[in-house]
Amino acid sequence: MIHQYKLGGYNIVLDVCSGALHVVDDLSYDIIAGLDEIYSHQEKLNRGNDGKSGGMIDIETLSERVLYDMQKKYAGTKMGDPSEIRECYEQIMALKEQGKLFTRDEYEPMAGELKARTSGVVKALCLHIAHTCNLNCSYCFASQGKYHGERAVMSYEVGKRALDFLVENSGTRRNLEVDFFGGEPLMNFQVVKDLVAYARSIEKEKGKNFRFTLTTNGVLVDDDVIEFANRECHNVVLSLDGRKEVHDRYRVDYAGNGSWEKIVPKFQKFVEARGGKNYYMRGTFTHANPDFLEDIKVMLDLGFTELSMEPVVCGEDDPARLTEEDLPIVLEQYEKLAELMIQRDKEGKPFTFYHYMIDLKGGPCIYKRISGCGSGTEYMAVTPWGDLYPCHQFVGEEKFLLGNIYKGVKNKKVQDDFMACNVYAREECRNCWARLYCSGGCAANAYHATGSVRGVYKYGCELFKKRIECALMVAIHREFAE
């Protein structure tokens, strides 16, 4: 399978299964499109009869037909010369021989392998340090941090047991990820500090390396928080929606006052003191600002360069929800964002957009790409009282309760459902060119859109595919600009 598209002045061809990426001229682009139709048809026939004899098409004759069509299409130009067309065809065939074009998907038997191999191994926990928040953002998927339940904070004892649970269940895995999440985790900052101290006290003896991430709305950030986070946290995620009026529309305190003025100077100080360590300014965009590029520009003007901007996750009746009418606007914004990145590169002022980070030479292996996101198996969320859920987005959905940190996972049926989530679990994904970049997508998005963790959140897929197209284009540009 291939995916071809035109963006940023490039004709781009992605060989989906090998990951090979090509920039081609118009003639190659058209020949590849013609050949892809032939090979795809053959593959469908193969699938239909288990690849056994019968159902074969005459690939050679059909390929010649494609080349003949090119002569007509490009007649009167240099590209229409039969010898040029033949040469181009030979270059395409050479790539096919090298396994860099029209590569077949032979990964399906491996889909469950990584999860089976690491079955029972937990490598990351999202600790819900506080189910309460000092902001009252109506678009919050966690219902103002309460996750549809009572306000609560995690005690040191519960947190300590959660860390022990992680170590006990992490097998030979060395790197363990722990997110301090909420609600607002800084409303329970002493416990965060104490848990980090505990983890540091055991990691050497246990042969582990804890990596902590703190997600905060910034209200309680002070020198103490900055010093601690910059010393101990591998990453910090700082919530800022961009323009003041956009941010203050939703991110208000309980008196209804916007938080932008209060948090921006704190975040600037925080990031400056971080001295190059990982951080993300994380914004949410909604129906109120599908033109989110303006918010990205504000973040850049404020001096932030590591950016993430996420589509809102909310209920169907929520006025913040992105609509079908917003979709073309959002897709265009992603393209313009890619253009902005290239422009800023040229100006020597590069920035990072989380979803456009793509490591073409050293990204994830195929096992990772086909095995799903890991929620409910290697990643779980822990409530303030120690219950385990498949991820933070399922907390409060009682039917997804997996167990607790004292007795472990008891609800094997739910865990098996998550275990079975992979690229090949959904027919739509099986035939999607982007499947090795999203790994089958977000189970929570799927559940909220369709009622099943194995459903498909189509709106999210549209956004995702556009992001990957843009990410690949920016990567190509950077490659050739070097």
């Binding site: 061809v13 299964c17 090998s18 990951g19 990426l21 090509h22 920039v23 081609v24 001229d25 190659s28 040469e87 270059q91 395409i92 790539l95 590569t103 392998e113 990584l114 990351a124 895995r173 790197n175 990820e177 999440f181 991430t213 997600t215 995620v237 990982n278 993300y280 994380r282 993430s308 996420e310 989380y354 979803h355 980070m357 490591d359 073409l360 030479k361 050293g362 990204g363 994830p364 292996c365 195929i366 096992y367 990772k368 790409r369 996101c373 890991g374 929620s375 290697e378 990643y379 933070h392 970049y437 999203c438 790994s439 089958g440 997508g441 977000c442 990957i468 990410a471 490659e479 050739f480």
Partner: protein, 48 residues
């Protein structure tokens, strides 16, 4: 003439031979928390 330029990428078919150590991050940590993307993740295998 050269009709195609190929960008250097990790060969996913080859990655099947040594991959699958599981040391990499889970997929929606870091920054998004509300969607799944693995393209932006790093391979953390020591024998890559």
């Amino acid at each position: 003439m050269e009709h195609i330029k190929t960008v250097e990428t990790r060969n996913l078919c080859e990655s099947a031979k040594k991959g699958g150590c599981g040391e990499c991050q889970t997929s929606c940590q870091s920054a998004c928390k509300t969607s799944c993307g693995i393209a932006n993740q790093k391979c953390e295998s020591e024998k890559k």
